[in-house]
């Protein structure tokens, strides 16, 4: 199994600013993902973080708004840029191990934009 930690656990940010969320996995993993979860709703995949190359974004999400880095096999960051109240959500980091179905999640970052 993989243990995933995220920083910060929560934050309250002003409109127009940016926040970078860090994700650390305790072991090397093949794939890392970033999800968004609105209160009471399911998870929406933002992008797949690719090690050493640009992230792969899902429809509706763009690099200028959600730049992602993955410098190595255990670490990734997601930046939420030029924030608006609509960006208030829980952002979850996820990682996949050796077997295709073993996907683990971090505890999430609870973001509120005022």
């Amino acid at each position: 199994s993989a243990v995933i930690s995220q920083k910060p656990s929560r934050d309250i940010c002003q409109r127009g600013t940016s926040l970078t969320i860090q994700c650390q996995v305790d072991s090397q993993v093949t794939m890392m993902f970033w999800y968004r979860q609105q209160p009471g709703q399911s998870l929406t995949l933002i992008a797949t973080a690719n090690q050493g190359s640009e992230a792969t974004y899902e429809s509706g999400f763009v690099i200028d708004k959600f730049p992602i880095s993955r410098p190595n096999l255990t670490f990734s960051t997601l930046t939420v840029s030029n924030m608006s109240p609509e960006d208030s959500s829980i952002y979850l980091c996820s990682a996949r191990g050796g077997s295709s179905y073993e996907q683990y999640f971090g505890p999430g970052t609870r973001l509120t934009v005022t």
């Binding site: 794939m31 995949l45 999640f105 505890p107 999430g108």
Partner: protein, 110 residues
């Protein structure tokens, strides 16, 4: 039609009851099915995984897949207050993409 649909609940049952949670999906090509449990203010954790029609048991939990009906279920026997959580069905559409249902909120009352 959404790719994965799930009754959001909330569902409230007495301790010891059998719980049935259900999802439907739209694409008959989907082959890999999972159930995740998410406690409040925590990330989801994998409960069950199956890739074929039929039943799979793990302790008090049974996952059931009916590919002909595009219907998946999770049964919880002898439910406990510690089972109170949101349960998300998930389907792997390709190696690197998993889509989640909206989740069913379950409360088990002592």
């Amino acid at each position: 039609q959404k790719e994965v649909e799930q009754d959001p609940g909330p569902l409230s049952v007495p301790e010891g009851a059998i719980v049935s949670l259900n999802c439907t999906y739209s694409n008959s090509a989907f082959q890999y099915f999972m159930w995740y449990r998410q406690y409040s203010r925590k990330g989801p954790e994998l409960l069950m995984y199956t890739y074929s029609s039929g039943n799979k048991e793990d302790g008090r939990f049974t996952a059931q897949v009916d590919k002909s009906s595009k219907y998946i279920s999770l049964f919880i026997r002898d439910s406990q207050p510690s089972d109170s959580a949101t349960y998300l069905c998930a389907i792997e559409t390709s190696y690197d993409k998993v889509i989640f249902g909206p989740g069913t909120s379950l409360s088990v009352i002592p």
